[in-house]
Structure formats: structure tokens, C-alpha cells
């Protein structure tokens, strides 16, 4: 990827033509941020190791970083982690896909149609504010301890923030843009496709971002309380019962990496989807 930046050295307003100057961006600049992060994390784990070695806190609650990494490595080596991680990840991605497939169109519809909004919003708001845990007993009653219960709780957690954000996005579309659409001959469908949808895209993405955060919580409570005997939640639960602090911390680290990874992926997507938004904010 070559870095060219459009220079702001445009000539007078009156004049035609523009000047774009390429500027040099140091090779190091790109690696600098990565470097800072690596050093930052290294320092974090070193401090962790030192504090744990000082044994100020009982090692039963606070293991050494090195023990945590050992548990992580062994867990992958002996096959205790990977099946659970892949179970959680698969479930989560399927749940997120279902949530997006339901949440985005319904949310857009609620934003665009007063009647749909009127009919659906009491349920949507009730479901958005209801703590997910409260649903677990009912879901177990209906679906038992299987995978479908875990998947359902992920969807129920993620779908509503997506819906609400999409709805809000449609409602914030600038009226003058819609008017411009009407003036310049766009049909209703064309206004949706060419004005409202692109305008709403950043909201859709931030809805999905919230859906990821909520969905992860849903995934964990489903695995912790659902008693299905699988997933990262199960690993956490078992490590806790066995007083296996290194494994407990290793699982938490895995969860952190998983959620950061997903959020970063969305951020990347957001920049692809709406570059104009980012630049106009700056």
C-alpha cells in the first residue's frame, strides 16, 4: 500500500484544476503503532509476572503470567482449548449473522415506517432493556441444554441493539437530502437505495458493534448457566471449580483477544464503508 495524501494546497477557489502533492510518509511511521502496542503489552505482562512473584496476592487468585502462558500453551497442545474455542466462535458468528439478518431489515423498516415503529417498538424496547440472564430459565425449559439454547441467547442479545441503531440511523437522515432526492426525480425505492441506505450504513455498523459486545455476554451466560458442557464459558466454569487459576486467566485472555479482534474487524469495515464520515469528523 503506497501512502499518498492529498495536499491541501489547492489554488484559489476561482481557479480550475487542483494540485495533489505526494508527500513522503516514513516507513517507520506505520510500524510505530504496532511497536508501541508490543512494548506496552510486554511491559504489562512483565509487571504482572513481578507482582505475582512478590506473592502479595495469593497465587490461588493471581497466578504468574508465565504460568498463565504455560496453561494456554498446554491447553492448545493437549486439545482442551481448541474444541471449546471453536465451538464458541462458531456459535457466536452464526448468532451474529442471524442477528444482522433479522435486525438490519427490521430496524430499517422501523425507521422508515411510522406504523412499523408504532407496532414493534414496545417489544423492541422491552427486549433491549430486559437483562438477558432473566431469559435463561425459560429458554432451558423450552430448548433444554443444547446448542440451540446457546444460539438463541446470542441472537436475543445481539439483535436488538442492531435493530435500534438501524432505526435511529434512518431517523437521522437529513431531510434536505431526501428533498434533493425528490427534486431530482428519485422514486421512493431510489431514495431508499441511494440516499437513506448509504446515510444509515455507519449506524448499521455501530449497531453491529454493539451487537458484538452484547452477543459475547449472551454467549458467555449461555455457556456458563446453560450447562451445555462446551464453549469458553464451560472452560471458565471448570477452571473455577478446579481452582485452576492459570487456566482461568488464560481463558479470559482468549475472550479478550476474541472480542478485540471482532471489534477491530468492524472498525476496519467501518472505514471501508464510510470513509467520508471519518474524514469529515477530523
Amino acid at each position: 500500500m503506497t501512502e499518498t495524501i492529498q495536499g491541501a494546497t489547492r489554488t484559489n477557489d476561482q481557479q480550475n484544476g487542483q494540485q495533489i502533492e505526494s508527500i513522503e510518509v516514513s516507513r517507520f511511521a506505520r510500524f510505530k503503532n504496532v511497536g508501541i502496542t508490543v512494548v506496552n503489552l510486554a511491559v504489562f505482562f512483565v509487571i504482572w509476572e513481578l507482582v505475582a512473584r512478590a506473592e502479595v496476592i495469593n497465587s490461588l487468585f493471581f497466578p504468574r503470567a508465565s504460568d498463565m502462558f504455560a496453561a494456554l500453551f498446554n491447553g492448545f497442545a493437549d486439545g482442551t482449548i481448541w474444541p471449546q474455542l471453536s465451538h464458541s466462535l462458531t456459535n457466536f458468528l452464526i448468532g451474529l449473522a442471524i442477528s444482522a439478518a433479522i435486525g438490519i431489515p427490521v430496524g430499517l423498516l422501523m425507521g422508515a415506517s411510522k406504523i412499523a415503529d408504532l407496532i414493534l417498538s414496545p417489544y423492541v424496547w422491552a427486549m433491549t432493556s430486559l437483562p438477558r440472564v432473566a431469559l435463561i430459565p425459560l429458554l432451558i425449559l423450552i430448548m433444554g441444554f443444547g446448542n440451540s439454547m446457546q444460539l438463541t441467547i446470542i441472537v436475543l442479545s445481539a439483535v436488538f441493539p442492531i435493530m435500534v441503531n438501524c432505526m435511529a440511523g434512518v431517523k437521522t437522515v437529513e431531510p434536505s437530502l431526501v428533498r434533493a432526492g425528490v427534486v431530482f426525480g428519485a422514486s421512493r425505492l431510489q431514495i431508499y437505495l441511494k440516499v437513506i441506505l448509504p446515510y444509515t450504513l455507519p449506524f448499521v455498523i455501530s449497531g453491529v458493534n454493539q451487537g458484538i459486545a452484547r452477543g459475547l455476554v449472551g454467549m458467555l451466560i449461555g455457556e456458563l448457566l446453560g450447562g451445555g458442557g462446551n464453549g469458553l464459558g464451560f472452560l471458565l466454569d471448570r477452571a473455577g471449580e478446579q481452582f485452576d487459576a492459570p487456566m482461568l486467566y488464560a481463558t479470559l485472555i482468549l475472550l479478550a483477544v476474541m472480542s478485540v479482534g471482532l471489534v477491530q474487524a468492524m472498525r476496519w469495515l467501518e472505514q471501508r464503508a464510510a470513509p467520508w464520515r471519518d474524514i469529515s469528523r477530523a
Binding site: 427534486v183 426525480g185 428519485a186
Partner: protein, 291 residues
């Protein structure tokens, strides 16, 4: 002061007078318009009993205190607002909605931020109504950009442009559809003073070339006088037509030699408009004070 009888000025015979017998292009007949407040069961009357004719090729400016119904009037012509009483006609036909014969330039530009300049202009040609064949679109867009002096900025995004440049894109988008009528609602209201003057001069040049009929709302008295053939002064809410003033200044008005802004006639019209609008402003203040 204020004895200037602006419409019956002798001398400079106005071009529009020659066409006086021709039927009006835009015609408002006893129009009353307003907005219903359904919750409180009230109706705000924004314009009351407004009758006005706009001739083909005329540049009509509308001035008046804010909230007097200027935007409402332009929206009636655009077809966004329906009159409560009376009718608005274009070429003798009742306006029932927006149409390809009328294009609008918005105060806030209303450009699609995710589209480049060129694609914003193409937006006016690619929709269901007023669709232009693809092959022709590029050529027309290029011509419109040349007209507003933005050649070379095709690939720029609106956020990369200054306010004045954005509004030129807005103007180009309106011109590219070759509408008979150009509706402009305070188009230069958000650009700085220097750019504003340059854009007024440019607009005069463009209109001289394209010969559109223009309805132009402005806050600025000078802008109205410099651009318009006639100025409609609307009184405060509910808006009624206070006076219609013929601007019998020679064109082009942005010519260095002509120096219209320093001519005695410009000054006369200006002070007349000032006194009219000062009345309105004072009236509004008194109304507040006596409450």
C-alpha cells in the same frame, strides 16, 4: 426619506416589460399556506393571500424578515407544500408535486457526502424521472462543471471542498437537468462574504447564458438588488406581499465599469428596501414588547 416610488421609475425601459403580455410562467393565485399542528389542533398560517406572477426568464428575488414564509413560498412552487387556499400554477397548470421543470438549490447544499462531485451531479440525471442516457451523462456533467468553474474537481468529495465550491456543485446539479425554473433558497447564506460576491457575479453570468427563470430567496438587500429583475418584499408572519419593486439597473451588474453598486439608482432602491424592512423588524419588536 423614502419617497422613492420604486416601480414607476422612468428611464431604463426594462426588458421584462416587453413580455408583459405573455402569460406568466409561474403564477400564485390568492395562495394561503400553513402548517397543521395535529397535536395541538392548531394551524400556523405562514403565507396569507399571496398573488404573484413570475415571467419567463425573469430573476425574482424574495426578501423579508425571517419566518415570514419565504421558504414556504419556494416550497409551494417546488411542490413540497400544498396551499390551503388558492393555487400555484406553472405554465398554467396546477402544481401537484415536484417536476423536472423545476430544480432546487439548497441553502445547506444537500450534497450526498459519499459521492464525488461528478457523481453528485450525475445523481440529477440517473433517477427515474429525468433520466439521461449514460453516454450523455458524462458530457453534460462536464459542461455543468465548466459552467460553475469546477473543472478538475470531478473526483473530489464534498467534504474536501470549501462552502462556496460545494454550493457551486449544488448549482451545477440543478443546472444539469436544464430546468426551466431554478429555485434558490438562500443559496449563498452559508458562504463567507468574499466568496459570496464572487458567486453572485458568477450566477449572473451563468443565468445570462442559460436564460433560466429564477426565484431566489435572500436575507441580503444588496444581493437582491444586484441579482434581481424584481424584488418581492414579504411582511412578517403571516406573510403577505408588502411591495414588489422593479430593479431597473442595467446588466451586467458585476461589470467593473458599470459600478452599479455606487450608482444613485442602486442607493435609492437600497434605502427604500431598508425602510420597508426596518418597518417589518420594528413591527416585530413592538409585537413582542406589548405582549
Amino acid at each position: 426619506m423614502g419617497q422613492v416610488e420604486a416601480h414607476s421609475a422612468p428611464g431604463a425601459q426594462h426588458a421584462a416589460d416587453d413580455r408583459a403580455s405573455e402569460p406568466a410562467l409561474i403564477e400564485a393565485v390568492h395562495v394561503t399556506a400553513g402548517y397543521d399542528n395535529r397535536r395541538e389542533h392548531t394551524r400556523l398560517i405562514a403565507l396569507r393571500d399571496v398573488s404573484l406572477q413570475v415571467r419567463r426568464g425573469e430573476f425574482l428575488a424574495i426578501v423579508g424578515p425571517s419566518g415570514c414564509g419565504k421558504t414556504t413560498f419556494i416550497n409551494l412552487i417546488a411542490g413540497f407544500v400544498k396551499p390551503i387556499e388558492g393555487s400555484v400554477r406553472v405554465r398554467g397548470e396546477e402544481v401537484t408535486g415536484p417536476g423536472a421543470d423545476r430544480a432546487m438549490v439548497f441553502q445547506d447544499y444537500a450534497l450526498l457526502p459519499w459521492r464525488t462531485v461528478e457523481r453528485n451531479i450525475r445523481f440529477a440525471m440517473e433517477n427515474r424521472r429525468g433520466h439521461v442516457p449514460k453516454a450523455e451523462q458524462a458530457e453534460r456533467a462536464a459542461r455543468a462543471l465548466r459552467l460553475v468553474g469546477l473543472t478538475g474537481f470531478e473526483k473530489s468529495y464534498p467534504h474536501e471542498l470549501s462552502g462556496g465550491m460545494r454550493q457551486r456543485v449544488g448549482i451545477a446539479r440543478a443546472l444539469v437537468t436544464e430546468p426551466e425554473i431554478l429555485l434558490m433558497d438562500e443559496p449563498f447564506g452559508a458562504v463567507d462574504a468574499m466568496t459570496r460576491e464572487a458567486m453572485q457575479a458568477e450566477l449572473e453570468k451563468i443565468i445570462a447564458e442559460t436564460r433560466q427563470t429564477v426565484v431566489f430567496i435572500t436575507h441580503s438587500i444588496d444581493e437582491a438588488i444586484l441579482l434581481a429583475d424584481r424584488i418581492v418584499v414579504i411582511s412578517k408572519r403571516p406573510g403577505t406581499i408588502r411591495e414588489v419593486i422593479d430593479v431597473d439597473l442595467p446588466r451586467p451588474r458585476f461589470d467593473e465599469q458599470a459600478d452599479v453598486q455606487r450608482s444613485p439608482r442602486f442607493g435609492e432602491i437600497r434605502s427604500h428596501l431598508w425602510s420597508l424592512l426596518a418597518d417589518e423588524a420594528l413591527g416585530a419588536k413592538q409585537e413582542v414588547a406589548t405582549r
